[in-house]
């Protein structure tokens, strides 16, 4: 008679990842309706379908139902399983899109996750793998998720539109998380960076470095920006490009038919690929970019990044401009401040929520819209409310206003982990 945990209902495809991730963690089914219902091209996009497929890979006993048009999604989560997984991400979004959610889920698997993700490592929309490696992993470490097996390795770089990058992410599992008290970000002691160039002249990276340094040197002398020039197979795919936006109407639509959950539940989802993209002339996907990370004395990492426009889209970008703009972005991030940078705010807040029933505190910069929505989702999934205190900057020359987030963990424990 145990009533199945009452499901939550949402409309629209925005924040799909948050909803599915929180649903998986809380065990509450979620129904998302009206996904691009009024769009000319309704339903789930390719990258979202790929994300759902990834969730299916790492869970056990999940039940996913999508209607014919792909506008309604019902997701009943199973237990997080983990293990060795490989996944080909959609090239429409970067690997960061998938990796961000994996970071949320990975510590609560049954078996330690070791996943190979293939796709676009650096793009303009999502946080790149470099940035996540530099900023998200330290956040994980703060919560006691560390050890040798916590690793994020970039094997190959792939730029849009072709992709072809490869990333290995492995994460240990934890039964419980430590509460954190991060109220003092400390002072920035060094700035590191990575200027990469793929299928362009290696000189590009050096030009980026010079221009970025010219800005940052005014603040701190300890700057080192690595240049990373990938060649050959390691520089991504010579792949077929994406269909143009107008063409996207005949995208690969995945439809999952309602099928009964199998006994083991591992492969409960049957994917039917309706169309295959026709072979296109091969093009290369060159590009370059810069990611900067500022490290403080207290182990806080703030990051900024910029990437060149993908081939065939937008005007060409000068490496000097890119370097300068990226440095300014980093300064902007420093101005926002906080103990966790703006991309990982939601990750830190999630782990605070999932902690023991203890008080966790974290000082953040201004909350990003994504984080604000994440807080709302946290409330609906876990009935948790954060105490939000603004800390005005005052006289100190330490950037903008800060927000002190405080919460009591819900006493989450990893139900998937086997007891031996």
């Amino acid at each position: 008679m145990a009533t199945q945990a009452h499901s939550l209902s949402y409309a629209g495809c925005n924040f799909l990842r948050q909803r599915l991730v929180l649903s998986t963690l809380s065990g509450r089914p979620v129904k998302i309706r009206k996904i691009r219902a009024r769009d000319d091209n309704p339903g789930l996009r390719d990258f979202e379908a790929s994300f759902i497929r990834l969730l299916d890979k790492i869970t056990n006993g999940s039940r996913i139902e999508i209607n014919q048009t792909g506008t309604t999604l019902y997701y009943q989560p199973g237990l997080l399983y983990g293990g060795s997984v490989e996944h080909d991400c959609s090239v429409l979004r970067g690997i960061g899109y998938y990796l961000e959610s994996l970071l949320c889920l990975a510590p609560f698997m049954k078996h330690p996750l070791r996943i190979v993700l293939r796709g676009v490592t650096n793009d303009q929309v999502d946080p790149s793998v470099d940035v996540l490696k530099a900023t998200a992993l330290p956040v994980l470490k703060q919560f006691g998720i560390d050890g040798e097996s916590l690793e994020l390795k970039i094997v190959r770089r792939g730029m849009p539109p072709g992709g072809g990058g490869e990333v290995i992410f492995s994460c240990p599992i934890r039964k419980v998380l430590k509460p954190i008290q991060l109220t003092d970000p400390g002072k920035i002691k060094r700035i590191r960076g990575m200027a990469y160039s793929v299928r362009v002249s290696p000189q590009m990276a050096n030009r980026i470095v010079d221009s970025a340094r010219s800005i940052l040197n005014k603040f701190i002398p300890d700057i080192y920006i690595y240049t990373d020039h990938m060649k050959g197979i390691n520089s991504g795919k010579v792949g077929c490009p994406l269909p143009a936006p107008g063409q996207a109407t005949q995208r690969q639509l995945e439809i999952v038919l309602k099928c009964p959950m199998t006994m083991d539940g591992r492969h409960s989802v049957r994917w039917l690929s309706i169309t295959q993209s026709s072979p296109e002339p091969l093009i290369t996907s060159p590009g370059f970019g810069l990611s900067l990370v500022a490290e403080t004395t207290n182990g806080t990492f703030l990051s900024a990044e910029l990437t060149s426009n993908p081939q065939g889209q937008g005007a060409a970008v000068l490496p000097e401009d890119l370097g300068r703009n990226c440095a300014k972005l980093l300064l902007e991030e420093i101005y926002r401040g906080g103990c966790v940078d703006s991309t990982n705010q939601s990750l830190a807040l999630l782990f605070m929520t999932l902690g023991q029933q203890d008080v966790s505190k974290v000082l953040l910069g201004p909350l990003s819209p994504y984080t604000i929505e994440f807080l709302r989702h946290l409330k609906s999934f876990f009935q948790i409310m954060f105490k939000i205190e603004t800390k005005p900057c005052g006289e100190e020359r330490k950037g903008g206003d800060k927000v002190l987030m405080t919460c009591v963990g819900i006493g989450f424990s990893n139900l998937s982990k086997t007891l031996k």
Binding site: A2, G12, N14, R266, M385, R397, V408
Partner: protein
């Protein structure tokens, strides 16, 4: 006798006594060694072996660390909930007596009848909730899960009973609470020695069960049916000072031991369907962990529910204020037991409970201060106004069915259901609202009740006290608001008959006008009783409106007021048709109502309604517009409107669901409710755009700073190590401060404190002369503070220096936990409870009221206060059902073994449920092999389909919870290991086949498979014959379907049977049936029986199991073994030596006739002669035999004589020889002597 000489005393030379004497003797002689051997002989105790030394050190360290517990964060609240004391024991052991005595001991009150938990204040910082536990195993299991302390009563005259052991085992499984044994019936022992023996025996048995040294109390005897005061006092003292170690399950889950239950179901629903699902509210102290609103709970014995609402109430049994007092005043010794009818004044969301019994009379309430007369009048009326209102009826039309309040009240929230009657003995007055079930029906027809009610009504009308007035004012104010809502709802009403909002609420409807008129006419006809009832009805209507209105009260803007004033006139006229006595109020208090709405109601309703997320003001306004629009064109087509409404609903759904607006966190029903009155008019386009916008976590800038400007750059200068540091972190500052500190320290020693005073102070002194006094004091204070700071800093430094190197990992961990605990306490300390509840949830120790919907009606109808009601909070995804694996061991005291697929009742987490487990054992290769039965004395695995419970949780299993058996009832115990959805349990399946063609080592085998495809699946599989020849499947054959070629390590025989061992996965039956024992009728709660086993079913239906014939035992008949003759080949025969050759001479055949000799026939004479000869020969033979015997005897004797002779002869010879040798020897000696002498003589 006397002469028998006494044994002489012999002194002891050994033994302790001798030693002692020896020592004394030595001491007397001043020779004794005072110092021990270690000192006397240090060499003997020196380190002999470094290895042994290391080992012994290791051992001591091991023992030391074994005593450590893993440190946990101390999450006990500052004001902890009462300690749950479970008084447990077999029947007739004295449980109730003990509880009564304990209550009397602490509170000086005597409770005659105890039902349910009783909460008492036992000390300045401690409260107890005492509850009795009977022998129903359901109750035992439930209470063991919530108990902090168990008083285990044991009848000493009888000894331990099964229940005691069962309960101990249950406790062991669900975390071990403190257990204290209490021996009763000790007065039945006549002899002291017997008593002592019994005590000792019981004590030692108890110790083996709990832990050595566990406290066992002795209650020696009864005095006037009660235990002795002194003993109870001692027991009470033990309980009040007891310390508890947190139990894992209890600290990680919130739970409530409910001490009150009320039915809040809409009476109308009950009337229409007596078996409808109920809405109940449960009250109790929250324990364990923080509880969040809307969380999942489990009620053992009932089922899973979602909390629909939770609110905290003032503590009904509060701890005495923290005062410097040595003991409790008599007044503060409180007791609270609503189920037993004891408690103070209780304030609920919707009711007030007054108890005049006991020393504590009345407590003040903030909303109403009842005067003494009022209370008296309240007491004198045995039914409350609401009840009267509810049961009164009004007939609107002459031929219509009378309308009752339940027809109007479709919310049902404000009317509590009380199934307890007024307890006249305790003088407790409750709001008796008899709506439930049969009571309801009887109540309606009861003329007495009606009369009483009318009386009460009159009283109410005439009294016109403050509270009533206020209420009226509020109510009338809200009528108008509700009116608008009603108008909006009008169209719905016509469609939907379920919403029975009375039509006369609307002011300008012709139809209703007429109905009002009719009502008026009727009213005239009716008696005064009716009058009262109509007033009551209006009240109900009003408060109904109140609910509706209050929801939106905040959002109402000025516009609303305007509208109100505009409609005022119309409204009063319309209302006049109805109101009798209160009409005046209505018109007078209109303006007041509005104000009261904004003040009074805001306070009370704010919370609930903020949670309901009502729309923003702008939206409300538009909603208002909408309402007014509909008002104007009310004559238009209803269909159209309905359509429009739907559209709006859609729109509102958009806005509420999408992440853009505030409302998306709400549940669907809340949204509907919201949509009922106001429409959110947000352009759907925009919503859609936002709802489907890009999902990206990056925080993009809208207005980037210009980082080339100097001031912008300066704004972040201090974020870098190169920037300015804070006071307390700047290295230079710290150095300077330290110096200052030491300087000051020296000053301190000399007594000069003022040297370090800051220049600021002096400045202020200079400037503000007139306030010098104050400044002085402040300066003094600051100096003092500084002094203290310095001291603290010095102490810290010293501590840091001192502790360094000393702290172990364990200490660090403990310190960390302690710090966290302090932070947890301090973080929300300064916030008020309302805010705190939002952040951390309802914290343990609060007295909360929990509303639950969709409770089975049996829970209310069959409510038995003796049974504990527990609300156990469930963690994340603990509410879902899945496959659970356990490590299980059959209890060694359980007499049977358990069978796979037999339904069994588990108690895991909060739950008790029946399920069908499969038992398995893990082979060495990790295969989980199905077992038919549990092993006797070994752990095995079990897997079942049931609720997900965290790993490491203990569980127990019982086969039946109904009835009593003399045997031990707990069948198995263990822990949850895993929650894997892809568990694979397999059972062995042997496929057999027969060879039909045998080559050398290859055989063709048939009969194992049915098709070539099946064979193909098993290619390469290992097969074996019964005789042990191993082989492998090679390939399918074409000819007989399913035959295959196989190779073996040896040649098969045609008679061999070939088999293959395979593993077949078995599926776990998805059967999960919660034990709903609380839903059983009163008195039958221990008779819950779920699914029966096949064995039981067979027994019940008298179905005999048809056994397999091959499995039957039969008499063993051994057949005679026949051996065939040995056949030796001819060639071999030839080669054999003759000796070994088979002698194959043909048997002498029959002698032919011609060779046969003819028979001799003798003559008579010859015969005579022959006879004589025979006789003679016989005689001769006899003679000869005799002679032979004699000879034999003779020979024997002769032989004997001869032997004797021989012996003698030998003896003689021996003697002779002896003699001879002696002589010879002597001779030789002599010779030797002479020969020795010879040379010596020669030498001389």
């Amino acid at each position: 006798m006397e002469t028998k000489d006494q044994k002489k005393h012999r002194k002891k030379n050994s033994g302790p006594k001798a030693e002692k004497k020896k020592k004394r003797h030595l001491q007397d002689l001043q020779l004794g060694d005072e110092e021990d051997a270690r000192k006397r002989n240090p060499k003997a105790f020196a380190v002999q072996s470094a290895v042994r030394m290391a080992r012994s050190f290791h051992r001591t360290q091991d023992l030391k660390t074994k005593k450590h517990h893993i440190p946990v964060v101390d999450r006990t609240p500052l004001e902890p909930p009462p300690i749950v004391v479970v008084v447990m024991g077999p029947p007739k052991v004295g449980k109730s007596t003990l509880i009564q005595c304990l209550i009397r001991n602490f509170t000086r009150q005597k409770l005659t009848e105890i039902r349910g938990p009783v909460t008492i204040v036992s000390g300045k910082k401690r409260r107890l909730t005492i509850i009795e536990c009977g022998c129903d195993i359901n109750m035992m299991i439930d209470l063991a899960k919530v108990a902090d302390l168990v008083l285990m009563l044991i009848d000493a005259s009888f000894g331990f009973e099964m229940e005691t052991f069962e309960f101990l085992n249950i406790c062991q499984v669900h975390g071990f609470p403190k257990i204290m044994g209490v021996l009763t019936h000790l007065d039945s022992f006549k002899y002291n020695k017997q008593l002592k023996k019994a005590k000792k025996r019981l004590k030692h048995r108890f110790w083996t069960e709990v832990y050595p040294g566990a406290k066992l109390f002795y209650l020696s005897g009864m005095v006037h049916g009660e235990y002795q005061n002194q003993e109870i006092h001692n027991l009470g003292r033990f309980i009040t000072v007891m310390k508890f170690r947190p139990l894992t399950w209890q600290t990680s889950h919130p739970y409530i031991l409910a001490d009150r239950m009320e039915d809040l179901t809409n009476p109308e629903d009950i009337r229409t369907n007596a078996k409808c699902d109920r809405k109940v509210s449960l009250y109790g102290y929250l324990r364990g962990a923080h509880m969040k609103n809307k969380s999942q709970i489990h009620m053992p014995g009932v089922g899973d529910f979602a909390v629909s609402d939770i609110s905290f109430l003032p503590d009904p049994c509060a701890l005495p204020e923290q005062q410097k007092k040595r003991c409790l005043n008599e007044k503060e010794k409180l007791v609270y037991a609503p189920l037993s009818g004891v408690g103070g004044v209780l304030y609920d969301k919707d009711a007030v409970y007054v108890d005049l019994g006991g020393s504590h009379g009345f407590q003040e309430s903030d909303e109403a201060r009842p005067t003494h007369e009022l209370v008296q009048s309240l007491i004198s009326t045995h039914s409350t106004i609401d009840a009267k209102m509810a049961s009164s009826r009004v007939t609107l039309f002459s031929d219509s069915k009378p309308l009752g309040s339940e027809d109007i009240d479709n919310q049902g929230l404000w009317m509590p259901k009380e199934e307890k009657q007024v307890d006249l003995k305790t003088g407790r007055v409750r709001r008796k609202a008899i709506f439930g079930g049969e009571e309801d029906e009887s109540g309606d027809s009861d003329p007495e009740d009606d009369e009483e009610m009318s009386e009460g009504d009159r009283l109410e009308n005439s009294s016109s006290d403050e509270t009533e007035e206020e209420e009226d004012a509020e109510v009338t104010g809200k009528v108008y608001i509700a009116d608008k809502g009603a108008k909006r709802q009008k169209f719905e009403m016509e469609e939907d008959t379920e919403i029975d909002l009375p039509a006369f609420a609307d002011s300008d409807d012709d139809l209703e006008r007429s109905s009002e008129d009719e009502g008026e006419v009727e009213e005239a006809d009716e008696s005064s009783e009716e009058e009262g009832s109509s007033a009551g009805e209006r009240d109900i209507l009003d408060s109904e409106a109140l609910e509706k209105g209050s929801k939106h009260s905040n959002g109402l803007s000025d516009r609303l007021n305007l509208e109100k004033t505009m409609k005022k006139a119309a409204l009063t006229t319309s209302d006049s048709g109805h109101c009798t006595a209160e009409e005046a109020f209505a018109s007078e208090d209109e303006s007041e109502g509005n104000s009261s709405l904004s003040t009074e109601e805001m306070d009370s309703e704010n919370e609930a309604f903020m949670r309901k997320k009502f729309p923003k003001p702008s939206q409300v306004v538009s909603g208002e517009k909408r309402g007014s629009e509909s008002l104007t064109d009310e004559t238009s087509d209803i269909e159209d409107l309905l359509k429009e409404e739907e559209e709006y609903k859609e729109a509102s759904n958009y806005s509420t669901e999408t992440s853009v607006t505030e409302d998306n966190e709400e549940d669907d029903d809340a949204r509907e409710e919201l949509g009922g009155l106001f429409r959110v008019s947000q352009p759907a386009r925009e919503c859609k755009y936002k709802a489907d916008s890009l999902d990206c976590s990056r925080f993009h800038l809208d207005v980037p700073h210009d980082w080339d400007l100097e001031e912008v750059m300066n704004s972040i200068r201090d974020c870098f190590v190169t920037g300015k540091w804070e006071e307390d972190k700047d290295a230079a500052k710290i150095l300077a401060e330290d110096e200052e500190l030491y300087g000051d320290f020296e000053d301190l020693e000399t007594g000069d404190v003022h040297k370090g005073k800051s220049s600021l102070d002096t400045q202020t002194e200079d400037v503000e002369e007139e306030v010098k006094e104050e400044i002085d004091s402040s300066a003094e204070e600051s100096a003092k503070k500084k002094h203290l700071d310095k001291k603290r800093k010095l102490k810290e430094m010293f501590d840091a220096e001192y502790d360094e190197g000393e702290s172990t990992y364990f200490d660090d961990l403990k310190g960390e936990m302690h710090k966290q605990a302090q932070l947890n306490r301090a973080e929300f300390e300064d916030q008020d409870d309302e805010a705190r509840v939002q952040y951390e949830g309802f914290r343990p120790g609060m007295y909360v009221r929990i509303e639950i919907e969709n409770v089975p009606c049996e829970f209310v109808l069959n409510f038995d206060p003796h049974y504990p009601i527990i609300l156990g909070g469930l963690g994340n995804s603990e509410g879902s059902v899945g496959y659970v694996q356990l490590r299980l061991k059959k209890h060694r005291w359980y007499k049977k073994i358990l069978k796979s697929r037999d339904p069994i009742i588990f108690s895991v987490g909060w739950r008790r449920f029946q399920t069908i487990p499969l038992y398995y054992i893990e082979d060495h290769n990790g295969r989980q092999r199905l077992l038919k039965y549990t092993p006797q004395h070994m752990h095995c695995g079990a897997a079942f389909w049931g609720p997900i419970t965290p790993q490491g949780t203990g569980f127990l299993a019982v086969q039946f919870v109904d009835g009593t058996t003399p045997d031990f009832r707990i069948a198995a115990t263990g822990t949850v290991l895993d929650l894997d959805k892809s568990i694979k349990i397999v059972k062995k399946l042997k496929l057999t086949g027969f060879p039909y063609k045998i080559f050398k080592n290859t055989s063709f085998i048939k009969g194992m498979f049915n098709s070539a495809l099946e064979v193909a699946k098993f290619e390469g599989a290992v097969i074996r014959t019964v005789s042990g020849i191993r082989g492998q499947i090679k390939k399918a054959l074409r000819a007989p379907e399913g035959a295959f070629r196989a190779t073996f390590e040896d040649k098969l025989l045609m008679s061999d049977i070939v088999f293959m061992r395979t593993w077949y996965p078995v599926s776990i039956p998805a059967f999960y049936n919660p034990v709903t024992s609380l839903l059983k009728p009163v008195g039958e709660k221990d008779t819950w029986s779920g699914m029966r086993t096949t064995g039981q079913l067979r027994l019940a239906n008298r179905v005999k199991l048809k056994p397999n014939k091959d499995s039957l035992y039969k008499l063993i008949v051994r057949q005679k073994k026949h051996f065939n003759s040995l056949h030796i080949p001819k060639a071999l025969q030839k080669a054999l030596p003759f000796k070994n050759k088979p002698k194959t001479q043909a048997k002498a055949g029959k002698i032919p006739k011609d060779r046969q000799r003819p028979a001799v026939i003798r003559e008579p004479h010859e015969r005579k002669v022959l006879a004589l000869l025979d006789a003679l020969s016989t005689v001769h033979r006899q003679k000869m035999r005799k002679a032979k015997e004699q000879r034999h005897l003779h020979n024997k004797e002769h032989f004997k004589a001869k032997q004797k002779e021989e012996e003698e002869k030998l003896k003689r010879q021996k003697d002779l020889r002896k003699k001879l040798f002696r002589i010879q020897g002597q001779k030789e000696k002599r010779n030797q002597k002479s020969s020795l002498k010879g040379p010596t003589e020669q030498l001389k």
